[in-house]
């Protein structure tokens, strides 16, 4: 297990280095000179030249890369080109927002996906299973922004149960925080719920056909105990989907963040891309890769716990 853990961590670090380095060069290639975007319409050539020098853009690209990279290794991602504040401070402000919504969506998707998946797995031909099939088609077909807008119009504008926009930090008010993330989390979770339920149902049906399940029943185990055994063996596919979904939501939360006006990393990514704030983009890339590596690492640990054979893969 120790070697397995070290191997996974090493590959994660390698991925982090490769992705951030590639992002550095691609961003500089794509954005070029960002000074006009950073200074706005009224910028004069003299202002742009001054900013060019201040940002160190007159140095060779490899010198700039080494400067960034050597600082990044020490945890210093530099300062934003937009407001000259530390990148890490700005990302630290945004990460809790996105994580709040994405974790809430993941928990919601896992809980409801588990309930629906097990229920339909127990009765694969039942009414609920048919509803699930229909729901999976419908919810996959509906664009996320449309679902978000419907939720806003219904629960924020008409019923006024939840705020239409904004985020309240957990440290400020627990109920306000929950209220501000509920609709975004539901919007993100809806399609994930059916995805997980479908995976779980399919796994459930497969596993239920196995000889050992019949043996367990023949031994006189209760349905609950049998269900728990089946669930454990049927869960890896759903767990993998859940992990992939979590990573996908981190990157895909941007639409929901815009519609609900949440100051998360999605919004920051969008604004940084628009104005060409490369240090922020690099910081966000690093953070996202860290999350991807962590989630995959945790997934591997869980799958390794469920099935020791995968530790050797």
């Amino acid at each position: 297990m120790f070697r397995f853990t070290i191997r996974r961590l090493m590959s994660g670090v390698a991925l982090l280095l490769i992705v951030t380095s590639a992002t550095f060069f691609l961003a500089h290639l794509a954005i070029g000179d960002p000074t006009a975007g950073l200074l706005g319409n009224s910028a004069t050539p003299a202002q742009r030249a001054a900013l060019h020098e201040k940002l160190g853009l007159d140095r060779p690209l490899f010198v700039q890369f080494w400067d960034w990279f050597s600082h990044a290794l020490r945890g210093d991602f530099g300062t934003s080109w937009r407001n000259f504040q530390p990148v890490s401070d700005q990302i630290a402000l945004r990460v809790p927002v996105t994580l709040s919504v994405v974790i809430a969506a993941t928990v919601l998707a896992a809980a409801l996906g588990l309930a629906v998946g097990v229920a339909t797995g127990l009765r694969p031909g039942g009414a609920l299973a048919r509803v699930l099939k229909l729901a999976s088609v419908v919810l996959f077909a509906l664009p996320g922004f449309w679902v978000s807008l419907v939720l806003v119009m219904l629960f924020a504008v008409r019923l006024q149960w939840f705020p239409a926009v904004g985020y309240v930090p957990l440290t400020q008010s627990a109920s306000g925080w929950l209220s501000s993330i509920t609709l975004p989390a539901v919007a993100l979770a809806l399609s994930a719920i059916v995805m997980i339920a479908e995976q779980l149902r399919n796994g459930f049906v497969e596993v239920t056909k196995q000889d050992y399940v019949r043996t367990l029943r023949a031994r006189g185990l209760s349905t609950r105990r049998v269900t728990l055994h089946v669930l454990r063996n049927a869960s890896p596919a759903a767990l993998t989907v859940l992990a992939v979904m979590f990573v996908g939501l981190l990157g895909g939360a941007i639409v929901v963040e815009i519609i609900f006006n949440l100051p998360g990393i999605g919004q920051l990514t969008q604004s940084a891309s628009q104005i060409g704030d490369i240090p922020i983009l690099l910081g966000l890339t690093a953070v996202t890769v860290v999350f991807v590596v962590l989630v995959n690492f945790l997934l591997d640990l869980v799958l390794g716990w469920i099935n020791p054979k995968v530790r050797d893969i």
């Binding site: 954005i31 000259f84 926009v165 209220s179 367990l216 349905t223 105990r225 055994h229 099935n307």
Partner: protein
């Protein structure tokens, strides 16, 4: 199915540890544990799930926002939704565009603007130019202290102006200032290298916010604003990027101008989200999308709008150095005649703006409505001008394009195509557009307007800008003559000359302006907003009760 999933099925199936310990047919196991049927399992799952969802919903449903017709419902509070987050709390690093509501809360300016965009006193109670207009002397208020207890005086003003002059974003305003002088405790002087008729306007627009000198020295302004403004920033209850909260300072010298006890500013980038926030009662004032105007009026909200940008084609090669046809005024006029600006305003601009072919704001002192017919849409006339110039078959041109300007791309391609002008589009990222657009002989532009005539003349015609790297006035003797005359005069004498200049550049088809687009603001019934051309979002003094 995932191969790893399949691999788990058999081995774990044999690992039923608990049951092995109990024995295959151990009666104790069967008797000690209650037996659950499949139905029981389902019921339990559903009960737990429903209970969890209900608890979550109950806990989350704490929104107590106000009436559905907009408004936060509290008399002393105001919630303002603007388009962008604050760039920086440091006035030297802030942007004039959308930073106004944030910075005007915590800072007082030396100079403000009134509703006509004329400079009016702020912390500078009065000012006077020397006869040669190279020295501007300002008398300062004496009763002002910053929120950290520091006193505002001439030394503080000079320290701030030096800080602003050195600022990357604010420096251009003071480019013509040689030095700042502390004349006495309450008097300062700005010594100019050359006459600058737009200086006071730019200072009033958002380039003279005054911060505590101690905060400037500590270099903490970017995140911790310390000013003498009407409000103090409440960092503990604010959520950066989502909502900024301010409370009114007692006994502010301009107390009457700021009627709200608590101020909330919410940056909301998406107009739909902003409109929904108004609908749900989370906002009192919102930066709006013109398409929502009918719905806003149905709800009884106030709608305020004024021109903010001009939309059209910017020519960067009027001398024809890179693209010979553009050096012929008949070709530039043909392009002006070819576009139906009024139709583009309706179709792309949702009718929110003014159809005009001038770069001076419609309704302003320089704009001449009679010139708007100078290039009335007339494709026959346009083709005739092209033929007269020797380009009856048109010519090829490469133009930049980015996602922001795509709404106009089909019209441009079709209209120029009718003149035989074949456009090869070069796709650029939005960030790259500003860098590279002006390297092409012409490009689609949306450029900010200024309400001050001298500032407009300088920014749009005379000085080198990213969108106008080669002003080329010297190549047009009539234009240069009027520019020189206008720069030599001042005040009331200058205005007629700028009007003449506007007429001349219209005649020279300096740009192909299709229309001027509005910035639109919605506010609840008892709050009014006065838009100011030049400010993308007005400062707080233009948001009032009534």
């Amino acid at each position: 199915m995932n191969p790893r999933v399949r691999a788990t099925l058999t081995p774990r199936a044999e690992g039923c540890d608990g049951e092995r310990k109990g024995g295959f047919l151990s009666p104790s196991i069967r008797h000690q544990r209650p037996s659950y049927s499949r139905e029981d399992s389902m019921k339990r799952i559903w009960r737990v799930t429903l209970a969890a969802v209900a608890a979550f919903a109950m806990a989350a449903c704490t929104n107590t926002t106000a009436p559905s017709d907009g408004g936060t419902g509290t008399d002393d509070d105001i919630k303002i939704g603007t388009l962008l987050d604050v760039t920086s709390w440091d006035p030297a690093q802030a942007d004039i565009g959308f930073d106004g509501p944030y910075l005007s809360a915590v800072y007082d300016p030396l100079v403000s603007l009134n509703e006509d965009s004329d400079p009016v006193p702020g912390l500078a109670m009065s000012w006077k130019y020397s006869a040669d207009r190279l020295k501007l002397t300002m008398e300062l208020r004496e009763d002002v202290t910053f929120s950290d207890g520091e006193v505002f005086d001439a030394a503080a003003a000079v320290r701030n102006l030096e800080h602003l002059k050195a600022g990357v974003r604010s420096g251009a305003t003071y480019a013509n200032v040689e030095r700042f002088e502390e004349v006495d405790e309450d008097t300062i002087a700005l010594h100019l290298k050359q006459k600058d008729e737009a200086l006071l306007y730019y200072m009033g627009l958002g380039r003279s916010w005054i911060a505590s000198p101690a905060a400037i020295k500590a270099e903490t302004l970017a995140t911790q604003p310390v000013g003498s403004g009407p409000y103090t920033f409440e960092s503990n209850t604010s959520t950066p990027g989502s909502e900024y909260v301010f409370t009114k300072r007692p006994e502010h010298w301009d107390d009457q101008t700021y009627p709200f006890a608590t101020l909330h500013v919410l940056p909301i980038a998406d107009p739909t989200a902003s409109f929904n926030a108004m609908l749900s009662g989370q906002l009192d004032v919102a930066y709006a999308n013109a398409t929502d105007i009918p719905r806003a009026k149905e709800r009884g909200w106030n709608v305020a709008a004024d021109v903010a940008t001009w939309v059209g084609i910017q020519f960067t090669d009027r001398t024809g150095e890179r693209l010979k046809p553009l050096g012929d005024v008949r070709v530039r006029r043909a392009i002006n005649h070819a576009f139906d600006g009024a139709a583009m305003l309706e179709s792309v601009g949702q009718g929110a703006g003014a159809a005009t072919n001038q770069v001076f704001p419609a309704g302003g002192p320089v704009h001449d409505p009679s010139l708007d017919d100078r290039y009335a849409h007339d494709m026959d006339q346009a083709k005739k001008l092209m033929a007269d110039a020797g380009y009856a078959d048109g010519f090829d041109v490469t133009m930049p394009m980015s996602s922001i300007f795509q709404p106009w791309q089909p019209s441009v391609e079709q209209t120029l195509g009718e003149l035989g002008i074949k456009v090869a589009w070069k796709d650029l990222s939005p960030a790259d557009y500003q860098k590279n657009a002006a390297t092409y002989p012409m490009f689609v532009a949306v450029l900010a307007l200024d309400s001050n005539p001298a500032a407009s003349m300088d920014g749009r015609i005379v000085s080198e800008q990213w969108f106008n790297p080669n002003p080329s006035t010297q190549d047009f003797p009539e234009v240069q003559k009027l520019v020189d005359e206008a720069l030599d005069t001042t005040g009331a004498d200058q205005l007629p000359l700028i009007r003449e200049l506007n007429e001349e550049i219209t005649e020279q088809a300096w740009q192909s302006v299709w229309y001027q687009a509005d910035n639109t603001y919605f506010s609840v019934e008892d709050i009014t907003v006065t838009p100011i051309t030049g400010m993308m979002f007005p400062t707080l003094r233009f948001i009032q009760r009534g």
